[in-house]
């Protein structure tokens, strides 16, 4: 498969749908895979996901507050895994808690963005995130 592949880890179906709709509405071309929990995300990245496409995603959009294993724990495990640590992880959350922000960067999150309430801002944000992390950023070979 060519083109960008983004993994979205988001327990709220509404938010996942909003991301999908916003990407489409912003004419951002990428393949979005969605999982609802931290456990599923780790399985997915280990190559066990149902629609795994045989290569690592270009970046991960990771929610912090997840049922079961939290976003922080997913991030920690991902960054400990030598095979997975190079995947840029963008925390995408409603939380503006300084603790969450601090904890995320300490665990080597690549970016931390707060979900904007307005749809127009969400579109604009996703367009920028995809453009930067999918196109401008030079990833580890």
């Amino acid at each position: 498969m060519t083109g960008l592949w983004v993994l979205l880890v988001e327990d709220c179906q509404d938010h996942a749908d909003l991301v999908r709709i916003a990407l489409a509405s912003a004419n951002v071309s990428c393949h979005l895979s969605h999982v609802e929990s931290g456990e599923d995300a780790l399985k997915w990245l280990a190559g066990a996901g149902p629609d795994s496409i045989g290569r690592l995603p270009d970046f991960v959009l990771l929610d912090v507050n997840l049922p079961g294993i939290s976003g922080h724990e997913v991030l920690r495990q991902l960054k400990l895994d030598t095979a997975l640590r190079k995947i840029p992880v963008i925390m995408l959350t409603t939380s503006q808690s300084p603790t969450d922000i601090e904890q995320s960067y300490s665990a080597h999150a690549n970016s931390y963005v707060v979900k904007p309430p307005s749809f127009a801002d969400l579109k604009s944000l996703l367009r920028d995130v995809v453009r930067y992390w999918g196109e401008l950023n030079v990833a580890t070979p």
Partner: protein
């Protein structure tokens, strides 16, 4: 008669007291008369033994300032006088009320007495003051009188004064001497009494230094002659003679006799009965002195123990309150977290889909518009649910718990009934492991706790029909543990504390779940001074365990639990 009598006399005083009572019995009802041949019937005077105003002298003849005064008035009125002495003021008033006497010898006006007698022109002043043992007096001056025992002679001015001025129900005694004995033996802390009366008794006994006044006089009153209300003519006559007599030199002579520096009132003049009383007072004082040191030691020891116990109890209570405060703070953090996450999340949904709706409207995409509208509605519903849940959690268990001994069986029966449809839907079974230990908990909160635990087990711990939820108890040294075990997927170790937090869920999100259930379980456990935790079930599943301490262990356990948490 007096309503309450507290008499704490040593044995020696008891026997003397008996002698006195026998003598008083001999004195009643035969009236002591001043035999003079008058044509008119004699004035029938009644009085409680109340030196130096009215008492029986060593020859058992009536004596005292009021007695002399009334004899003089009787002489002026051309009437004989017949004295009767009673054990206390109430009996004297009763004698007037029942027509056995016309006059009360020396009396201070009180509302209670005014229902039976009218008061003559006052002929002497009297103060009601508080006395304490001298060494205790300074410490009592600024005390809250409500905490002190105050002895008074029943029916006297002191009784009504103490009640009116201090708002304290005094301890009643029949005689002045009994109040003195009670003070000596620490049966009371203070005695309220007419100052002149007490000072004379103390002077006669030579023990003025043993007692001291406490505070200002409670009341400053006047001594009058009380006349039967039904005899206004007699009152007028007595008043006229009294006012005249008080203007004469004889009145001053009388006053000198009873109250002057060369007072006629000496130990010799006090009747045998009164002497016995004085002996009793002295005996009680000496006995009290002898016992004082030992009693003081014993009292101090008891007081030390009591203080230590109190300090311990207060310490425990303080720890519990501190722990509760810490829990409240952490609970507040959870609520803030919930507000930032669980309220923000639906807001993002609602506003996001409002934007989608707007775009779909511009494009004329009706299907997308309908879909967005549904999401907005669902989002606002979610907002409502979260808000209600927050309010419910905040207000739940705000009231103090009332802990009682609880039998689990009826609680489990109730829970089974309440969760009937959930059990049917999940195809789950409830297995209650006997015997169930009793525990101490607030009944309504305990019901809620068990309901939440079993409800949680049915929803998350029974994914396939035919699974069993087991409830059992374990007795420990300091309380009881309630176990609710399921055979579901279990809870990973790193989630076992998280799931008790507000709005934290483990497992698939369910529409009916508010994320409150286990947070409330923890809140209830902590309020009882207990704790809750999750363990692996042997052979799979999770065991939710809640510890309820017995009463003594509650505060300590609670504090320890919060420290470790």
């Amino acid at each position: 008669m007096a309503e309450t009598r507290v008499l704490a006399t040593p044995d020696i005083a008891g026997s003397l007291w008996t002698a006195l009572l026998a003598l008083i019995m001999l004195a009643w009802p035969a009236a002591a008369q001043d035999q003079r041949p008058y044509e008119t019937p004699p004035l029938r005077v009644v009085s409680a033994i109340s030196p130096p105003n009215a008492f029986l002298d060593s020859r058992r003849k009536p004596a005292g300032f009021a007695v002399d005064l009334i004899l003089a008035l009787g002489e002026r009125m051309g009437r004989g006088v017949e004295f009767t002495f009673t054990a206390n003021m109430q009996e004297a008033l009763a004698a007037i009320a029942t027509g056995r006497a016309d006059i009360l010898a020396g009396v201070v006006s009180t509302p209670e007495r005014a229902r039976i007698i009218a008061f003559s022109h006052p002929f002497s002043k009297t103060n009601v003051v508080l006395y304490a043992l001298r060494d205790r007096a300074p410490g009592l001056a600024n005390s809250d009188f409500a905490d002190l025992r105050i002895g008074v002679r029943a029916g006297g001015l002191a009784e009504s004064t103490v009640f009116d001025r201090l708002g304290v129900a005094p301890t009643l005694f029949d005689t002045v001497e009994e109040t003195m004995i009670a003070l000596n033996t620490a049966a009371v802390d203070l005695v309220a009494a007419p100052q002149a009366q007490w000072e004379h008794i103390l002077r006669v006994l030579g023990i003025e230094n043993r007692y001291a006044l406490v505070g200002e006089p409670l009341v400053e009153g006047a001594l009058s002659i009380g006349v039967d209300l039904r005899q206004p003519e007699l009152l007028r006559e007595i008043d006229a003679e009294l006012i005249d007599f008080m203007g004469e030199a004889r009145f001053e002579t009388l006053r000198e006799k009873w109250f002057g520096p060369q007072s006629f009132w000496t130990v010799e003049m006090i009747g045998m009965g009164s002497a016995a009383v004085i002996a009793a007072v002295l005996a009680s004082w000496l006995t009290a002195l002898a016992r004082g040191r030992n009693r003081l030691r014993s009292v101090e020891h008891r007081e030390t123990l009591r203080r230590e116990e109190l300090a311990h109890a207060y310490g425990q209570e303080l720890e519990r309150k501190n722990a509760l405060l810490k829990y409240s703070n952490s609970e507040m953090e959870h609520i803030l977290f919930a507000v930032t996450h669980d309220l923000k999340s639906p807001i993002v949904t609602v506003r996001g889909f409002a934007g989608v709706l707007e775009e779909a409207a511009q494009d004329g995409d009706v299907v997308a518009m309908q879909s967005a509208s549904k999401r907005i509605l669902a989002g606002t519903e979610k907002l409502g649910i979260v808000t209600d849940a927050l309010l419910a959690f905040g207000s739940f268990g705000r009231s103090e718990i009332v802990v009682v001994d609880l039998d689990l069986k009826p609680v489990l029966d109730d829970v089974k009934t309440m969760l009937h449809t959930d059990f049917i839907a999940a195809g789950a079974l409830l297995d209650v492991r006997q015997p169930l230990d009793a525990l101490r908990a607030d009944p309504s909160q305990f019901l809620r706790l068990v309901l939440n635990l079993i409800g949680n087990a049915v929803r998350y711990g029974c994914p396939t029909p035919g699974m069993t939820i087991e409830v059992s108890t374990e007795s420990t040294n300091d309380g009881t543990i309630v176990n609710v075990r399921d055979h579901g997927p279990g809870v990973p170790e790193n989630q076992r504390q998280e799931v008790f937090r507000l709005f934290r869920r483990y497992g698939p999100a369910r529409p009916e779940s508010t994320g409150l259930g286990l947070a409330i379980v923890q809140k209830i456990a902590l309020k009882h001074g207990g704790s809750c935790w999750i363990e692996d079930g042997h052979g799979g599943g999770a065991v939710f365990r809640v510890f309820f301490p017995n009463q003594a262990a509650a505060a300590t356990h609670f504090a320890e639990h919060r420290k470790s948490a």
